[in-house]
Subunit: 453 residues, 2 copies
């Protein structure tokens, strides 16, 4: 029951759905602020050079041109080609470099914005979607413990939604790269990109892909042995070592992976597990990488991903290493809505509709409404002075729970149109039940008496 | 002290500034919801046909093309040219037509989003900016009283910010069009567009412009007599009539203008005044039109504009007339920040920094922080276990008011680093003063002892 979309890949929601999305964004914001992340937004556009600064990207970029420019094709040489940002990390890195002098490091920020990718729209892949990111960036250095802190904040943020639990899957780029080095694989980017497709295309096709990239089948199979390792305790480290490869980079990566697992198991047992096939493909990560799966909705793919990056932001000799995670809000909301995981109690903020007897008395209805609003109660005045029954019908159709009216003797009353219950009321003192004041968002998995729906 | 912007026309804010902007958006949202407006968002892009559906537009449109498309120029014939929306009214009209079956009319919605215009950036004109819109749209008809309701909601919303008062300037398209008809002007669009420039270029230049468009100078001067009329009471209606022109359209327009003034003067005396030079240029309005000036900042131009439109959304014989107003949030925020009208008490959400003695005890600091957060207190744990003084310095630099620490004997204490006051504390019960819990936004016009700054 989502909004009709006349353009594939550009999702829109009906008002009741947007209330759910907005509530989710409010929950994320609350969690991020509780953990001391400051809000920023960056412009939607970057120069094309900036978007491609880290070299090849698998993200399809939308470029902008002005319509009026087409008529007079003489492009001002000063105007640079702009593109829409495809994530919030690249713009954030640019923002940090632009404003380093005015920021205190380590700088903790959250950023909730739309991003755009010109990809072919398909199952859960949108061309326009909202991301909710947290990153911590240091000046020159960044302590390792932030790589444990960040995924646990995302667990807390998503737990707050009352949807099925997420599991954070972690790996470390140094493990994969070190392992590649140890077995003589030089085309590491190709290896990372191939392994990244394992869940989608299967082991055989990945071996084929790697062979095309010059990685012999036997070597490719060893990489797949690594990629098959998965588990929540330190046993996974031993299983990697048992593959008989050792390089300084691999050893450093395993040490870091072990540290993440140990600390995460202490603070949130079972919520973070190692999964050695996680690589984050072509992205700019250099250490720990994260993906996240939603229990019962693994088909959705990762709903929260990220990692540690050392060189994304560099000005001269100054580097700003960081670690960040990004929730794919639109993908998550789309599933939450289509699976009916969360619903809004009504599609309008309005708690009370003040009825109008005739246009002359509209000013009195306006006064009643103003009094209720001054006390924080969302109120509208009936658009028409149709018959009382028709005004109630209007409220009912919009899901407004209460109707306010004044009888011939000037007595005020309020009617709960769900129960039909009606009481005398005074706009300066009447209070609706707390759960009716604003639309509330609730898990739809069970009815109020606990039965599954 | 705003963020460094490396692209002209695309403003960005530092964290403390974004806290002010976010607070402003929260206030607007609260007011809109108190008045029963439901939230929606529309996609950032529309087809170019949709953006130009109402014919010529003065807005410069950004078109999109995929970067990868350039390499293979064979454009799929099915792919339509997309552009970024230049306002929120055109997309809203399209959304209403797409989803009419799922909406209850009159439909009240608010929408707070970025829009883009490829204009030359100048004083207060941005290429990317946030708008906050409210609209009420009817199915086939829409009662006139909404044309009084909407500007008063905007007055209430902006009053809540604690900035100088706004004045809503109203006119009615029917008055200008009827007057044009009455004095024999046929190029009404040209006349509207010329008058719209009166404040910017002056009466003589407007007369010249109109002459170029085929409107004789004498006739043009009569139009300027109309445009010079301005006032808050019904006297303005008589002054228009005194110009000796009468047509059915003009008379209807004057009646509507009088009704808006009468009702507005009753509910918010002095806040809405008639200004006959307001035309909204090429926009799609058909009745009442609005602009808004901020006291003491008239040079900023209108910060909230809109009007009544009858034919923006039409499907077959079905039309959806509406009335809407749009706040230019970025323009307003830019001035609020540069003039120092509002400031945030600190640039981070963090209320408490929990210090760390050594990395081994970080887990204990994490526990204290988790306890404080579970009680709604924004808390971070010190990134380093540097000397106590250095950790306090870090808090001070970020504006964090409280530092939590555990002494050698295991006693917990919290220190207000502004006053130096230090007390024993328990994370399960300690509560910061309400005004310190989150950063708060305050008017900077006077100091706490009431003196002007």
């Amino acid at each position: 029951m989502s909004a009709k979309t006349s353009l594939s890949g550009f999702p829109e929601w009906l008002p009741g759905e947007r209330i759910v999305e907005q509530w989710i964004l409010d929950q994320l914001r609350t969690t991020f602020e509780l953990h001391g992340f400051a809000p920023i937004e960056t412009r939607a556009v970057e120069t094309v050079e900036e978007l491609q600064r880290k070299g090849e990207t698998s993200k399809e970029i939308y470029l902008l041109r002005r319509l009026q420019e087409e008529a007079s094709p003489k492009r001002s040489s000063k105007e640079r080609t702009l593109g829409l940002h495809f994530d919030l990390t690249v713009p954030f890195a640019r923002y940090v470099m632009d404003n380093a002098a005015d920021l205190a490091f380590p700088f903790r920020r959250y950023q909730i914005q739309k991003v755009w990718r010109g990809e072919r729209p398909q199952d859960g892949r949108f061309r326009e979607f909202t991301q909710a990111d947290i990153d911590i960036v240091g000046d020159g250095q960044l302590a390792f413990h932030h790589e444990v802190e960040l995924p646990l904040i995302m667990v807390e943020a998503l737990d707050r939604l009352g949807i099925p639990p997420i599991t954070v899957l972690v790996n470390n780029r140094r493990v994969v790269q070190g392992f590649c080095e140890g077995i003589g694989v030089t085309s590491i980017d190709e290896a990372l990109r191939s392994i990244d497709k394992l869940d989608k295309i299967g082991a055989d096709a990945v071996t084929d892909l790697m062979e095309e990239a010059g990685i012999p089948r036997d070597t490719g199979k060893r990489l797949l042995e690594l990629a098959a390792i998965r588990g929540g305790d330190l046993d996974v480290i031993d299983r990697v070592r048992a593959l008989g490869v050792s390089t300084p980079l691999l050893d450093q990566g395993l040490e870091e992976l072990a540290a993440v697992l140990t600390a995460a198991n202490r603070r949130a047992p079972g919520r973070v597990i190692a999964d050695l096939k996680i690589t984050r493909g072509l992205d700019y990560y250099t250490g720990t990488v994260y993906e996240t799966s939603l229990a019962g909705h693994e088909d959705l793919g990762s709903i929260c991903s990220g990692g540690r990056y050392d060189t994304l932001a560099t000005v001269g000799k100054r580097t700003y290493p960081g670690v960040g995670l990004s929730i794919g809000v639109s993908r998550l909301v789309s599933r939450i809505l289509s699976a009916g995981m969360l619903t809004a109690s009504r599609p309008v903020p309005t708690c009370v509709l003040v009825t109008v007897t005739d246009e002359e008395s509209r000013v009195d209805a306006d006064d009643i409404a103003a009094t209720l609003r001054s006390r924080g109660i969302p109120t509208e005045v009936s658009a028409s002075c149709a018959k009382f029954g028709k005004q109630i019908k209007y409220a009912d159709k919009r899901g407004i729970p209460f109707v306010w009216f004044v009888d011939e003797d000037g007595n005020h009353a309020v009617k709960d149109i769900r129960s039909g219950e009606q009481i005398s009321a005074d706009a300066t003192t009447w209070q609706p039940p707390a759960e009716d004041l604003y639309p509330h968002v609730r898990a739809a998995a069970t009815t109020s008496d606990g039965r599954d729906v």
